[in-house]
């Protein structure tokens, strides 16, 4: 009914954290300019992956809800909000399916970050084997 809203809220929070991390990294890069350091994926880049995954999913899921007539272009935008019983069901769906969606996407992102870090450290150990 409106399960994608949970992911949309998470995407907004991730965007804020990403921007803060990006600013912090720029400051650190200015200070450490010239120092040779091991290649590491910046946190802001990793957060951008999560943001893109969440936002992409939210946009396509919102379209699905429009397709099924659950989201409308007029107030209150969610058809379930017009009836208290439907609204209660919607909140229950958000608390179960919505949270589950956000959790699975975040877990997949965490696995992806772990894999990316392992690939990068492997690449540093065996620089001759890389393309």
């Amino acid at each position: 009914m409106a399960c994608f809203i949970v992911s949309a809220v998470e995407a907004a929070v991730v965007t804020l954290v990403e921007k803060t991390a990006e600013k912090k990294e720029q400051k650190t890069a200015d200070i450490e300019l010239g120092k040779t350091e091991a290649v590491k994926i910046p946190l802001s880049r990793k957060l951008r992956w999560l943001r893109n995954m969440l936002l992409g999913g939210v946009v396509l899921l919102a379209f699905e809800h429009v397709w099924h007539g659950e989201v409308v272009p007029w107030f209150p935008f969610l058809t379930a909000m017009s009836d208290p019983a439907d609204a209660a069901e919607m909140f229950h769906e958000m608390a179960t399916i919505g949270v589950g969606m956000a959790a699975l996407v975040t877990a997949a992102w965490a696995c992806m970050c772990f894999a990316a870090d392992s690939i990068m450290s492997r690449q540093q150990k065996e620089p001759t084997k890389t393309r």
Partner: protein, 107 residues
């Protein structure tokens, strides 16, 4: 069906991204969008399966057709978003080159 079609789109986008020559096509946008939606629909499918059990795998023909159309529409929407973002970013400068050529012809 929507989940299946989106997963296929995500896998194709990932393979295309892996075989890319450079980042100018911005395939990452497409990849993250389809994988994000696929994971979200997977959760939806798990909850639906828990409710319907085996009935989940035998949908009515009309529902399946509607879901197929929805899946194709979702893939099309993803492609449109990607193309628009690509044209706006214009990493190869093709849009800028085309516009400046047009201006030169007009002048």
């Amino acid at each position: 069906m929507t989940l299946l079609i989106t997963v296929f789109a995500a896998v194709i986008a990932t393979v295309k991204w892996y075989n890319r020559e450079d980042d100018s096509m911005r395939l990452g946008i497409l990849l993250f969008m389809y994988w994000g939606a696929s994971l979200m629909w997977l959760v939806d499918a798990i909850f639906e399966y828990a409710e319907l059990k085996a009935e989940y795998f035998t949908p009515a023909l009309e529902d399946m057709l509607n879901d197929t159309f929805l899946g194709l529409a979702v893939v099309a929407l993803g492609l449109v978003i990607w193309v628009v973002k690509l044209l706006i970013a214009d990493p190869k400068g093709s849009v800028r080159a085309a516009l400046s050529r047009k201006q030169n012809v007009m002048n």
